[in-house]
Symmetry: C2
Subunit: 498 residues, 2 copies
């Protein structure tokens, strides 16, 4: 057998760019967050479903933002029968495949949620990973905008269940049909305009980042950014550009005001009017259910994806936190979605209405951490009780102590390394343990064990100048009990520190 340790260490321990490990605290905290989202979605009648990580590249389609070539942006590889496979890049394309494949069996409308990792073969950057998590909810088979309205309200409820206060978030709603109407009214219509429309969509989607002037350039001749890179524009006439920018800034003081402005923007376009009517219907549902101000019509939201066909929506956090340099930072969008009536049709050849919402889990998690949400703070922070090994011939005895603690439901372990007592106590500190259990030969002869409160012990150093207080504290930080009081004494110490 070739023993790898005989070879020189030529392999570097590192991860590819854009991939990251997760520490126990983050795992536990994220799990708590996901559980809260799950409960919220189930309360709304959505049920779980899960698809695998690998799909036929063809089944995923080419519905990626800013991409015209199908294999760019996704991780792809050929199967042994030469067919191309890809890692999923979102949870929507696999859902469309799943629904099409199981169409006759599924209840319709089909309401499902999914959570999982997705992969993008893109350039990673700060906070931008090549593997990240999404949490989606979709309703397939419901043509009416009540389905879209419900998902928007569910998004609002979910953020509140995560501890984000009313006023600290907003769900913004728009409708692609209104944009179609505006473009029609601006004289831009017809099949040949598809590519140009995509450029317009992606330009508007950058409003937040570039402002109106930047978008104006992208709608016109194009734009050179700070690095000198040039982005081709949509080459629209000035009047069309102003009409579109007018549309994106049509948000008024309330939904009724916004809807009135949008009616003007779409002119006589039938499709545009249909979009405005849908928004009006959604607005009425929001009002009736008491969501005014939490869910608002906002035409600046278009979403960058090509496949949306009707309502689009985005969940934004509006509160500010301070960054490491004390500067105020907004988290902005933590999720979004919309209606995609064409995706399932790719497989079935008949239109299948669908609408869905996707939460960017890592982004939302960062926001909850920044606002010090009790949901994610301090999860999984404490280590187990550590039983020290003072005498290597007594392992079975120490294992017995550990067994008693575990039987009582107390997380516990026997130290398994080869270091001495001080290093063992340091190990317990590093694990974040509250309590250590020690039995040397003297204690063993007396049938006793020493219980050490590591939290109090750490405070002993600079705690008090008063001699009497110090002695009392010291007595509480480390004390002996008979062996049969092990569990009781450990529980007492654990209870001290919640």
């Amino acid at each position: 057998m070739s023993n790898p340790s005989d070879k020189p260490p030529t392999v570097k321990a590192r991860l590819p760019r854009g991939f990251a490990d997760r520490a126990p605290g983050d795992i536990a905290a994220t799990d708590k967050m996901l559980e809260a989202i799950r409960c919220s979605y189930e309360l709304y009648g959505f049920e779980a479903v899960e698809t695998p990580f690998v799909e036929f590249t063809e089944a995923l389609g080419k519905f990626l933002p800013d991409l015209d070539r199908p294999n760019e942006g996704v991780f792809s590889f050929q199967d042994d029968d030469d067919q191309w496979l890809s890692l999923r890049y979102d949870l929507t394309a696999p859902l469309a495949r799943y629904v099409a494949e199981n169409f006759d069996r599924l209840p319709k409308p089909y309401r499902s949620y999914r959570v999982g990792w997705v992969f993008r073969n893109e350039k990673p950057g700060p906070g931008r990973f090549r593997q990240f998590m999404q949490f989606d909810a979709d309703t397939v088979g419901a043509a009416g905008v009540a389905a879209d309205a419900e998902i928007c309200m569910m998004a609002a409820d979910t953020l509140e269940k995560l501890g984000i206060r009313r006023g600290d978030y907003v769900i913004k709603v728009n409708n692609r049909k209104v944009l179609d109407g505006v473009m029609e009214a601006a004289g831009l219509e017809g099949e040949g305009r598809a590519a140009q429309k995509l450029v317009v969509l992606r330009a508007i989607d950058k409003l937040d980042r570039l402002g109106a002037d930047g978008v104006r350039m992208l709608l016109g001749p194009g734009r050179k950014d700070e690095s000198g890179d040039f982005t081709k524009g949509a080459d629209l006439a000035a009047s069309a550009i102003e009409r579109i920018l007018g549309f994106t800034s049509a948000r008024a003081g309330d939904n009724a005001g916004t809807l009135a402005k949008l009616s003007d923007s779409v002119g006589e376009s039938a499709r545009g009017k249909e979009g405005v009517a849908e928004l009006a219907e959604m607005a009425a549902l929001f009002t009736a259910a008491g969501y005014d101000g939490r869910v608002v019509i906002d035409p600046s939201v278009v979403r960058g994806l090509e496949y949306y066909t009707g309502p689009v929506y985005e969940a934004e956090l509006t509160f500010e936190v301070k960054d490491d340099n004390g500067r105020p930072v907004r988290f902005g969008s933590v999720g979004g979605g919309g209606r995609y009536d064409g995706l399932v049709a790719r497989f079935r050849g008949e239109p299948v209405p669908a609408t869905g919402f996707s939460i960017g889990v890592s982004r939302l998690f960062s926001a909850l951490k920044a606002m010090k949400s009790p949901l994610v703070e301090g999860a999984g922070a404490r280590g187990p009780v550590v039983v020290l090994v003072m005498d290597k011939t007594e392992l079975a005895r120490y294992q017995g102590f550990v067994g008693k603690l575990r039987d009582a439901g107390v997380r516990a372990e026997m130290y398994l390394g080869s270091a001495g007592m001080n290093a063992q106590l340091k190990y317990a500190d590093k694990r974040g343990s509250i309590c250590a259990v020690i039995q040397g030969s003297n204690e063993r002869d007396r049938g006793e064990i020493v219980i050490k409160d590591l939290v109090l012990g750490a405070q002993l150093g600079g705690a008090t100048k008063d001699r009497a207080d110090y002695l009392e504290l010291k007595q509480r930080a480390q004390f002996s009990v008979p062996e049969d009081r092990l569990v009781e004494a450990v529980r007492e110490v654990l209870a001290r520190h919640g």
Copy 2:
């Protein structure tokens, strides 16, 4: 914009071979099982860690069973800088990379658990997937076999916590050093024998499936299977073969008996004696902790992986269930592991002792389902309360009912499709809903709603011949209440059916 629904449906909705979707019941049941394993591991002081799905191919090494070429068996693809990346094929190789990368920062011994999907680019078959889930626990940095013994006992405890009764499972323990000793005693030693030893290992690993005669052929000239495929043998001399087969069948009535036989098998080999001594030390710990019979020394277990360096262990279910044809089936191995002191050394150039155990989650889950474990039965079976839409102009009103139910913590939804009343009730049945809420114009005028108990309703058909009973049942299955008693009445119906 190119609307995909305009195109003919050329894309087939299907998954690549060896990948599968998961339904809500399976997801919920598996989650419950994973949670039980997690609790068990945390009780033992193991903490969570998670690595990404993608690693440098080089970092994963070539530690796959039955593979000599590094890229066979794993899904690999080239990054844009031409470096090879792979999907992880187990959770051990990424852990070795993680520990090596974070060595100075981690507490040592480092005790961690990980659960997640792994990928094998192999030929799928019945119950054999290319994406499957593992749940691992590892102790890195502990050289003594107390660490191995602890993991074996934890495996036993974990199976019991999952509801598998004592006597229905066994943890079998062996030691690679003993096999080394046996081979040495049989005159097979030295560096040049590495490849031959791997053939021996894999031959013994097939004992369960092929029996002693099949393994005898694999240790000798080779073996042709039923399909006519020929597997090359280890070409050992007859005396060496019998010595090895004698070793694998050395299990006696108790650990002491087995250890005595093993002492004979290894002859004067120093390495073999070391292995027997380690097994004896582990056996003593099992006895002291009360695990005799649950954890047993069994030399027939060797595990097929090249990288093990000391104790190896396997968790086997020993009870039988009936398959679909009424024939008895054993589940056999649901997990295994061992000591791999060389894996972290690949990165660090110094030996780092490590031992770990991996549960095959899908296999264990199948076993729990087959034994009708309450842990996984009936999870996530019931659908939400469905509020029917009897009048499309009253969506806000129905939405209001749904809102009240959700505010009271009751899972509920408004029907979002376009079908009539009967189809809506069928939808609720398909969701597994217990209760539907109905308000037509007559009820609305009276300020009432109708509550329909779908479970009782389904029983009405053939339930009773007695007219009075039938009427009473019918009355309970569908009744009117004032609107303000909605939540109360729904709760009453839900409570009827647990």
